[in-house]
């Protein structure tokens, strides 16, 4: 049973666990339960990843109904990678949240908080696993709705979390609406919602409805993944959310949206549309502007979380850039960066959360002289920061390297040298904002009260992620070849895969 149901189990497990978690008493038990669930889900996703890597894409018919009638789960390699990533992030942030929540959440709400966390987790996993376009919407909504709430939970410490969550809610809902309008238009043309089926029936069809549907779906997903001009919700949401929430969201939610985007771009629409070049050029330009603009803003922020949030927007630019190349190399680079960025951002946000736990502030001024007072946290932060800059021996370097190599190997509307220079310039900006923080941490004299000791439960995940950041920078060959294989599947066999109907 276990092996047959593998594609669905990592999604179902947290989904079922969430209501159970709500019923648990408000103490460590809820958190421990959520952690356990995350770990099991991680094991299951890893098994799934292994299966997919060996066997190829797997399908699962929910309710036993075959492809166009029922909902099909379809996990390809890219999906398995992202699922494992999400599960990994959950397994790291949940135990962290147990301690951190004691500071940032009202005690009587602990179990509800973790239930919500599990729902986000389940929603993100579902978006990745599903092979049904409408089911993507459903799970996107599950994850978004719970995300809004989790962001608003930051209001215990800072009222601005409510405004941030509201902005996120409004924009997220607009995004979801766009997405569903697009789906409706596609349904008008094809009469099906299954992705593979959609692809088959869209083949050769190029009319105004499809174009409008394409635009609506991509705009909707663009909002969810904070593509450059649509990123307005992200900085505030990440800044004011509770630390573990930020760490989890920053590393997963936009990544999952990126994956959904990949699915729609390559699996559903494919390359046989006249307007697809325009779309990719759009991605290219928006990605470039985004990574530049957001990095520039990040330099001038005083709130460390805000700086990192803007840097997330910039990093999404890199991923879009990779996608816009529309080559195996480019998509593989985007996937590599998805993984690496998730790991490094978690590292950074977990460290920031630890500082918040100890000092109660995210402001840069609170970071003065932290190198002496919280050496471990500082080291973790610096490792994450170096990875963000793209220093060799960290994961960030590998992803930039692969991206640049992909840029050189592809035929593009913009000369690849310009792209490379933009990437480098954006890295320089990253040096500037990370450098500012590092400067403050290492070279200024400590002020204010002595920080509270950070509990082990928070330190261990943090250090683990920092170690993973470095590991990904050293042994990158596995990840890169996996992502390459995944990109190949996405771009080629994903289109011809007939389904089990």
């Amino acid at each position: 049973m276990l092996l047959d149901d593998l594609p669905v189990l990592p999604v179902i497990l947290p989904l079922v666990a969430a209501p159970v978690c709500l019923l648990l008493p408000n103490n460590r038990l809820a958190g421990s339960f959520a952690t356990l669930v995350a770990w099991i889900a991680l094991v299951l996703s890893a098994m799934l990843l292994h299966t997919v890597a060996v066997v190829g894409p797997v399908e699962y018919a929910l309710g036993g109904w075959a492809s166009p009638l029922g909902i099909i789960y379809r996990v390809d390699l890219a999906g398995a990678i992202v699922m494992t990533l999400v599960a990994l992030m959950a397994s790291v942030t949940f135990p962290y949240a147990i301690e951190s929540a004691r500071e940032e959440i009202v005690p009587s709400q602990t179990s509800a908080f973790f239930a919500m966390f599990l729902i986000v987790f389940a929603g993100l996993m579902g978006v990745v696993a599903t092979g049904d376009a409408f089911n993507v919407f459903v799970f996107l909504e599950i994850s978004s709705l719970s995300t809004y709430t989790l962001v608003a939970m930051g209001a215990k410490r800072d009222r601005r979390a409510l405004t941030a969550a509201f902005t996120y809610l409004v924009l997220g809902t607009i995004g979801a609406t766009f997405f569903v309008i697009g789906l409706g238009l596609l349904y008008q043309v094809t009469g099906t919602l299954n992705m593979i089926d959609l692809h088959d029936r869209l083949a050769g069809v190029d009319n105004k409805v499809v174009r409008a549907g394409y635009a609506f779906i991509l705009t909707g997903l663009g909002l969810k993944l904070a593509m450059f001009p649509l990123h307005r919700w992200l900085p505030a949401a990440y800044t004011y959310a509770p630390s573990p929430v930020t760490a989890f969201l920053a590393s997963t939610s936009t990544k999952v949206a990126i994956y959904a985007m990949l699915r729609f771009l390559f699996t559903v629409f494919g390359f046989n549309f006249g307007f697809i070049d325009v779309a990719f050029t759009f991605f290219l330009i928006l990605g470039l502007i985004g990574m530049f603009y957001a990095s520039l803003i990040a330099i001038f922020r005083e709130d460390v979380k805000m700086i990192l949030a803007y840097s997330s927007v910039a990093q999404i630019g890199y991923m879009l850039l990779g996608i816009s190349f529309a080559t195996v190399d480019g998509v593989a680079a985007a996937l590599v960066h998805v993984v690496n960025h998730a790991v490094m951002k978690t590292t950074l946000f977990l460290a920031v959360g630890a500082v918040f736990y100890a000092l109660g502030s995210h402001r840069l001024s609170a970071y003065r002289g932290l190198g002496k007072r919280m050496p471990v946290t500082t080291a973790v932060f610096l490792i994450g920061g170096l990875s963000l800059i793209g220093v060799p021996l960290t994961g960030g370097f590998i992803s930039k390297w692969v991206l640049v190599a992909a840029a050189f190997n592809s035929v593009l509307a913009v000369p690849s040298l310009v792209i490379v220079l933009m990437i480098v310039a954006s890295s320089l900006l990253a040096v500037a904002y990370i450098g500012r923080i590092a400067w403050t941490m290492l070279l200024e004299e400590p002020v204010g009260r002595q920080p509270k000791p950070v509990p082990m439960m928070m330190v261990v995940p943090m250090v683990l992620m920092a170690a993973l950041t470095i590991y990904l920078g050293i042994d990158a060959a596995t990840l890169v070849s996996l992502c390459r294989q995944a990109a190949e599947t996405l771009l080629s066999t994903g289109l011809g895969f007939g389904g089990t109907s």
Partner: protein
């Protein structure tokens, strides 16, 4: 004697030479409370490293080419060490002068009662390890990595004083070095990788195809490398060097003579030979441009040096000027140009080391920084100033000191390639060197002591006095052994 340096396998020696300073880093950190033990650890590490460097030097001289693959991140993208003659020479100079510098630091730091000495020695350890990494790097990526590590590890040294001036200087230092290396060097590295699929160093360069088919791309890459290794202080990316003068003198000596600037020019030379390719370079228009930029740097920096009253600032501009010789040699890319550049690295290291340690000694003994205050001081500190004069003569290129040969070789190279104007530049530069380097010493001896006091000899502490003398004698000795060094570097110019 030689047998003593054949005990270790070369690969082991490479690892040990880089690991010893890192071990010392932790030991120094642990010995924070007991300064004597701490400094003993530093010197021990220095000696071990030096021993390894000598082993490597000899081994490489015998034709061995040790290689170590540290880690392969992606196919074609790995960290690896591979020693060749130029790197072995640079490693030898850096590790040898580090020992000298450590001894001198002990005298200087104690004499000056500096704070934060543990941090100081710790940073030194990392820096020397990084410098050796640069010397032994087997590909561009490894080179880049250690290059950055060197920048970061020397940063605490530059800002050692921790006052506002140090911070401002540190900002410029870090800003220019990081900015150029990430903004110019890294794209160049990536581009090379994009074009060739490898970053490994290979004699004769790996860009032959590119230079033949895409001359413009090749030119751009040349420029990116030349300015990207901003540690070579090619104008207009030189301001970090004068700004770094806020640091204590041993640090300045380290920056100028031992590791940092040397790493820059070493990088230029090495990349010219091993990545760009000397033949391709000599045919490239970009190389001509850089050659003239270097020539201009030589003259302009000399002119600026003449206007400086602060002795250390004057020496700093002198470095900018002198090290552009190496860039010049690399860009001429002829047989003599390259050999002259390699020789200049060695000769300048000893000479400039001497000068800086003398300046430091003056500061320790009399707290004087400005040349205008030093009139007559030569009678008070005759030994120090004698060493200074030897160093200055070597830099100027007067026989019988080491600095003679590189200038000679470079002139030969210039004539060889038909750039007669460069000969003029080199001669003019030497004249200017005489003016700004020798004048202070001469005035220190000739002018009367201020206030008509009797000239009572008051020298700096022994730790500050012996090292400059050691290097000054080195300048003399090297004059006679320069031929060996040039022969040692001969493999670099095979086929030219």
């Amino acid at each position: 004697m030689a047998g003593l340096f054949q005990l270790l396998p070369l690969e082991t020696a490479v690892v040990v030479s880089m690991a010893a300073p890192l071990v010392a880093f932790f030991v120094v950190a642990l010995l924070d409370r007991s300064p004597n033990l701490r400094e003993a650890a530093s010197i021990t590490a220095g000696l071990v490293t030096f021993y390894c460097a000598v082993t490597i030097f000899i081994g490489v001289g015998d034709g061995a080419r040790p290689e170590i693959d540290i880690v392969e991140m992606l196919p074609g993208l790995s960290l690896k060490l591979a020693v060749e003659p130029l790197g072995a020479l640079f490693g030898l100079i850096a590790s040898g002068l580090w020992v000298v510098n450590t001894c001198y630091s002990i005298g200087y730091m104690r004499g000056h009662h500096e704070g934060g000495q543990t941090r100081f020695y710790m940073a030194f350890c990392v820096a020397i390890s990084a410098a050796l990494g640069i010397a032994y790097a087997g590909n561009l990526l490894t080179f880049f990595l250690f290059y950055e590590a060197l920048t970061l590890s020397t940063f605490p040294l530059v800002t050692h004083e921790r006052d506002e001036a140090a911070r401002a200087g540190g900002r410029v230092y870090l800003g220019i070095l990081m900015g150029t290396s990430i903004g110019l060097l890294l794209p160049a590295v990536v581009w090379v990788y994009g074009l060739t699929g490898t970053t490994d160093f290979a004699l004769g360069g790996i860009l032959g195809q590119v230079s033949a088919n895409m001359p413009l791309v090749f030119s751009i890459i040349v420029c990116l490398f030349a300015w990207g290794t901003a540690k070579a202080a090619l104008m207009p990316f030189h301001p970090w060097l004068p700004n770094a003068m806020v640091a204590p003198t041993p640090v300045s000596a380290f920056l100028h003579a031992v590791a940092v600037v040397k790493a820059g020019v070493f990088g230029v030379l090495k990349i010219s030979i091993y990545t760009l390719g000397a033949v391709e370079l000599s045919q490239s228009a970009a190389a001509d441009i850089i050659t003239y930029v270097a020539a201009a740097s030589i003259l302009i920096a000399s002119a600026i040096a003449m206007t400086q009253d602060n002795l250390k600032a004057r020496l700093a501009y002198s470095t900018v000027s002198q090290l552009s010789y190496v860039t010049l040699g690399a860009m001429i890319a002829s047989r003599y140009g390259i050999l002259g550049g390699g020789a200049q690295i060695a000769a300048h290291a000893l000479g400039k080391m001497t000068l800086f340690m003398c300046a430091g000694a003056i500061a320790v003994a009399h707290h004087k920084k400005y040349i205008s205050e030093m009139r007559g001081l030569g009678r008070v500190m005759p030994y120090t100033f004698t060493a200074y004069i030897i160093g200055a003569c070597s830099i100027i290129g007067l026989p019988p000191f080491a600095g003679t040969w590189p200038k000679f070789l470079l002139m030969l190279g210039s004539i060889e390639t038909g750039d007669a104007i460069l000969v003029g530049v080199l001669i003019l530069s030497s004249l200017m060197n005489i003016v700004y380097l020798l004048t202070p010493a001469v005035r220190a001896f000739m002018d009367p002591v201020p206030g008509n006091q009797a000239a009572e000899i008051k020298e700096a502490p022994a730790f500050c006095l012996f090292p400059p003398w050691f290097t000054a004698i080195g300048c003399l000795v090297l004059f006679f052994y320069m031929g060996d060094i040039i022969r040692y570097l001969e493999p670099l110019v095979e086929g030219l």
